[in-house]
């Protein structure tokens, strides 16, 4: 007999135990899925909020366990709660945001200048690996709504399909498709403004 199968209960068994009142059994799910949930959260929220959001996601998972119908794999079900937790984080964050949005500094303008001045692959890779690249991305994402931000991150940055995104967010595929198109246009418009501004500045410098 396989010892491992005796020692390790299945996800469904643990869910059953928790639903029957064995709260401590939930710890087994935290051990099993803690890292995976944390990695999903870390992809979507700022590093200083990862622990807080992961905590809230697990509390949501615990509260939603009675509704788990085993129609989809448990891991996928947990992932969708984690993604929705991140979405909730941004909704709350945007609602209480009072301070003005961050603006681009000379470092960011410089990063853009170097990236666009040279077409080589080497420069592209070097610039993409720099901190400024992530900050420019954050600058752009910050100017989108919470819904658009999640869609841009899941569809355009993570590269998930419309259907996968719809499953994770609990939206219809049509809604995801429409949102994905609009949010990408908004991102493009923002980047275009940055590039135009940079061109204007360099034109003024040369004349």
């Amino acid at each position: 007999m396989n010892d491992k199968s005796v020692q390790e209960p299945s996800d469904i068994d643990i869910v059953q135990r928790v639903n029957d009142g064995d709260t401590e059994a939930f710890g087994l799910l935290v051990d099993r899925y803690g890292d995976a949930v944390g990695r999903i959260v870390a992809r979507h929220v700022p590093s200083e909020s990862v622990e807080e959001v992961t905590h809230d996601v697990f509390v949501s998972i615990y509260r939603s366990l009675p509704t788990f119908g085993a129609r989809s794999p448990f891991g996928r079900w947990i992932s969708s709660i984690a993604v929705r937790g991140c979405h909730d984080f941004w909704r709350k964050h945007y609602r209480k945001r009072e301070v003005s949005l961050s603006s681009l500094t000379e470092d960011h303008q410089g990063w853009l200048d170097v990236l666009l001045a040279d077409d080589s692959r080497e420069v592209f890779e070097r610039q993409a690996a720099q901190r400024e690249a992530r900050e420019v991305l954050e600058y752009a994402l910050d100017r989108l709504s919470a819904d658009d931000r999640m869609i841009v991150t899941l569809v355009h940055l993570d590269g998930l399909s419309v259907r996968e995104t719809a499953d994770l967010l609990g939206w219809s595929s049509v809604r995801v498709k429409v949102r994905a198109h609009r949010s990408r246009q908004r991102m493009k418009k923002m980047i275009m403004e940055l590039v135009e501004e940079r061109r204007k500045t360099s034109d003024e410098g040369t004349s």
């Binding site: 803690g34 992961t54 509390v59 993409a128 690996a129 061109r199």
Partner: protein
């Protein structure tokens, strides 16, 4: 100078590459796990009784309540029930011989 479209595409690709190249390791710490277990223990204490009494029971009866409301609506619509008239009739006819109307100053 390159076209605006090429520049926008290059910046867009660089941002996507920056996102995908980001280091995002995470390890569940024992402190965080303890926090989660403590929170669910508290929610069990605070919300357990409420949930047991109202949480599921309310939703279980929701369908039946909606059904009763629809049946009553159909009944009211098809029986020619006029609420104001029915109330007035109840007060003025006073089948129990108690002159309710007088208590309101109506003779």
């Amino acid at each position: 100078m390159k076209g605006l479209r090429e520049d926008v595409q290059r910046v867009e690709k660089a941002l996507i590459s920056a996102y995908r190249g980001q280091e995002r390791s995470f390890e569940m710490s024992s402190r965080l796990k303890a926090g989660i277990m403590s929170s669910i223990g508290q929610s069990e204490v605070n919300g357990g009784v409420w949930d047991a009494l109202f949480g599921r029971a309310v939703w279980r009866f929701a369908a039946a309540t909606c059904l009763v409301a629809v049946v009553l609506l159909f009944f009211a619509a098809h029986s020619g029930l006029d609420t104001e008239y029915e109330i007035a009739r109840l007060i003025l006819d006073d089948s129990a011989d108690i002159v309710l109307a007088q208590s309101f100053g109506i003779n």
